[in-house]
Amino acid sequence: MDDKQARNGIVLTEAQKKSRRQRSIAIALALGVLVVLFFAVTIVKGPAVLVRPI
């Protein structure tokens, strides 16, 4: 480890930054889909959404 790297901590390469950004966007989209899904099913089922017989 050289002096510059020691001062700055771990420095991401461009490839690492790019792939991290891609993964972050994918996670955000997946969470968005989950939220929309729960919202849509709540609207479709109405109060019955709380009735969940085993």
Partner: protein
């Protein structure tokens, strides 16, 4: 000896360069597409009206659950994947994703798919999906695959469950019809995978996986393929005379079954050289078409009945 040169040093911390495409590859998209299709058929043949949002939610959860199983399978099998030419390009042996990342990814998807299906649809379907993932990962991948030549026979149950899960999602209960679909996929699995194993037996032998051609030899495998194909054809036609599916399905199943049987007989008879190789490849390819056409017939029947009930 590994046939790939990329290895991840787990002892030192690393920053992932895995891209979204690598994680998608972990989901085994081709297997997932078959799961989605068979689950869709299980859903639409159910004798109830399912709201499109709930139908979409069910299929999405089943698809994600199947993807989770694929990711966990690749996590556990990364050592033998590196030894086989068919699997050496998967993200873990290629060094794109660390095994720990695949494990976390798979467990997260498994948790969310089961919980979402259980909470939003019903817990019978959620429990069945959890059992399917457990069966594929623990029973098939961890226990059976490296232990017995019957691995894909018993493990085939996991691949046969998606239409049952979908039926349970639609109706909230179980019945004979999804069990019939289960049996068709269950008995389809051995001829399909043993055909693959016949022309990939060197791969499996190198990795130490006791597939039937490696353990019992190609001739015994050819006989087993033929026997299972006979059972498959009978099981696939049976719902017609039993009154569960109608004549269009019955005749299609009979015609496709004759084709499947012809390919299996060809595999049994041709044992040497390029003709033998071509016969096994042909059976493998036709088996995919066979299952697709069989389930597509059921799907088309339901759609035709909905579009033109008086004609049908």
């Amino acid at each position: 000896m590994s046939i790939v040169e990329h290895h991840i040093d787990l002892a030192t911390p690393r920053i992932s360069e895995a891209e979204v495409a690598d994680f998608i590859a972990l989901l085994k998209p081709r297997v997932m597409s078959l799961v989605i299709f068979t689950a869709l058929v299980g859903l639409v043949i159910a004798p109830v009206h399912v709201h499109p949002v709930l139908a979409f939610t069910s299929i999405l959860c089943i698809a994600v659950g199947a993807g989770a199983s694929g990711a966990l399978n690749m996590w556990y099998e990364s050592d033998i994947d590196a030894l086989m030419s068919r699997t050496a390009n998967r993200p873990i042996p290629r060094g794109r994703i660390a095994p720990q990342e695949a494990l976390t990814f798979g467990m997260t998807l498994a948790f969310f798919s089961v919980m979402t299906l259980g909470i939003l649809v019903n817990w019978i379907a959620g429990s069945l999906l959890a059992f399917t993932i457990f069966f594929y990962v623990v029973i098939y991948t961890m226990a059976l695959k490296r232990w017995t030549a019957q691995n894909i026979v018993i493990g085939g149950a996991a691949g046969a469950l998606p239409p049952v899960v979908a039926w349970a999602a639609a109706t909230g209960s179980l019945s004979v019809e999804p069990f019939l679909l289960f049996l068709i996929i269950f008995f389809w699995t051995p001829p399909h995978f043993w055909a693959l194993a016949l022309f990939r037996s060197d791969d499996y032998a190198r990795a130490g996986v006791p597939m039937l051609p490696v353990v019992a030899g190609p001739d015994a495998t050819r006989l087993q393929i033929l026997l299972y194909t006979i059972v498959l054809v009978v099981v696939a036609v049976a719902p017609w005379p039993l009154g569960y599916f109608d004549a269009v399905y019955g005749v299609t199943s009979l015609a496709l079954g004759c084709g499947m049987l012809a390919f299996a007989i060809n595999v049994y008879r041709r044992r040497e050289g390029r003709k033998a190789l071509r016969a096994t490849r042909s059976l493998f390819a036709f088996s995919i078409l066979y299952l697709f056409m069989l389930f597509a017939t059921l799907l088309i029947e339901v759609v035709a009945r909905a579009v033109a009930p008086s004609i049908w």
